[in-house]
Symmetry: C2
Subunit: 233 residues, 2 copies
DNA sequence: CATTGTGAACGGATTCACAGCC
DNA sequence: GGCTGTGAATCCGTTCACAATG
């Protein structure tokens, strides 16, 4: 059927979907790869190439039909029917993510909220009650859940993963700041704020350092060229 | 001074730092690249190569001195002194991130929380009061802030960015699900849950589709080989 | 002799240049 | 003519194989 699709392409598909959703809201019927490029920041060639992994959805000389392309991408990602998802860990982050997905994300259906803390179990997020872990197998089974988000502390994350995999979960979006092991065939995706924040800090701090170096070295003629290369464009 | 460091390397540095922090907590004095590989999931060669972008920190035949390497990475990222950071947008996500960074992240110093909503302004997160946007220029200036996290709705994100850049912010970690434009020289990093979640859903849904195809085609002998290639290892 | 440090080979993803089509 | 679709060329990051060294 379909060849192996590069990971990077899969990451971009949801971006295309979001832009197409926005275009539909603005009643746009046709869109050019060039316009998609402006909205996404990816190059037009890349977008066209990405799409041809799955077929030829455009019309040469004209562009892409917005709602047709959107429907195709929904099919490709598998968002035609709402995907049932559970969230484990109802701390501040977990409840924020749950709220967001319950109210703003039309493509997923949050069908279970779980926590270990007896203080938290029984409280409600929007209209859903937080359940104990003991209820997980039942919910996962009843609702045919394949995808879980985990927002528990790093220390409990490994155990939760084992539990989830045992219950038949197939894909895990991990927000705990720790590296997790999953068996072959289980998909794991990490989201780690601290890492993103720290890499940003790297850039601002090296910029600072470079400015200082320029100043320090400004007496030494022979370094002029190197310094030039160091200044941000 | 230093050549251009690949983006991917910068993303991995904070992971090394975290592992080294954990090793110090366990009183480990020496670590091998092989062990770092186990803890991070990156290959040992890659780790060694990453580090040589900045110098030679190990001892051949022995390994790396944990606290020396940690100190070097702190220097490289620029986390020797706490970095002042502000957070704009005190919805559920914004306040969760603020709490997390105030209590668990020893490398940053949250020096300002901001929101537009008069209902939210004046409330407290841990011990800090949420301030109106009008206070931003003062705080950014007084505290020499270069890094901001924004967790406002997609609709207001663009305006906030303009404001921040005007105030002298240099790096932005954006959690709003929208593509932002920043002037040359300003660093922007996006964190987008929905996109991560949807790419995960792609994998589970294509797996489902493939299983169905296998079943449908199981009568057609000639497709056997193709189908084999489709099954996950 | 075990482990780091590194040039060379490899592979995957992006960009280029243009062929194909409306 | 204008835009999509695509093989070829390029770029970038990872892996490999081994040289360097405590």
């Amino acid at each position: 059927m379909q060849q192996k699709v590069p990971k990077m392409v899969v990451k971009r598909l949801p971006v295309y979907l979001r832009v197409l959703d926005n275009l539909i809201r603005r009643d746009r019927e046709i869109v050019l790869s060039r316009e998609l490029s402006e909205e996404t920041g990816f190059t037009a060639e890349q977008i066209r190439k990405d799409l041809t992994n799955f077929g030829a959805f455009g019309t040469r000389g004209t562009g892409y039909d917005v709602s047709y392309l959107r429907q195709q991408i929904l099919n490709i990602i598998g968002l035609n029917t709402k995907t049932p998802v559970i969230v484990v860990g109802m701390g501040h982050l977990g409840s924020a993510l749950s709220r967001y997905n319950m109210t703003k994300n039309p493509y997923v259906d949050i069908v279970g909220l779980f926590d270990l803390d007896p203080q938290v179990i029984g409280t409600k997020i929007i209209h859903q009650e937080v359940l104990p872990l003991s209820e997980m197998p039942r919910v996962i089974n009843d609702k045919k859940v394949k995808v879980a988000m985990i927002t528990v502390p790093a220390t409990s994350a490994k155990d939760i993963v084992k539990e989830l995999v045992g219950c038949g979960i197939n894909a895990i979006l991990n927000f705990a700041p720790t590296k997790l092991e999953v068996p072959e065939g289980i998909y794991l995706q990490n989201v780690d704020f601290s890492i993103e924040l720290q890499s940003l800090i790297y850039y601002v701090s090296t910029e600072e350092k470079q400015k200082q170096n320029i100043w320090k070295r400004s007496f030494g003629e022979k370094y002029a060229k190197q310094i030039d290369r160091m200044i941000m464009p």
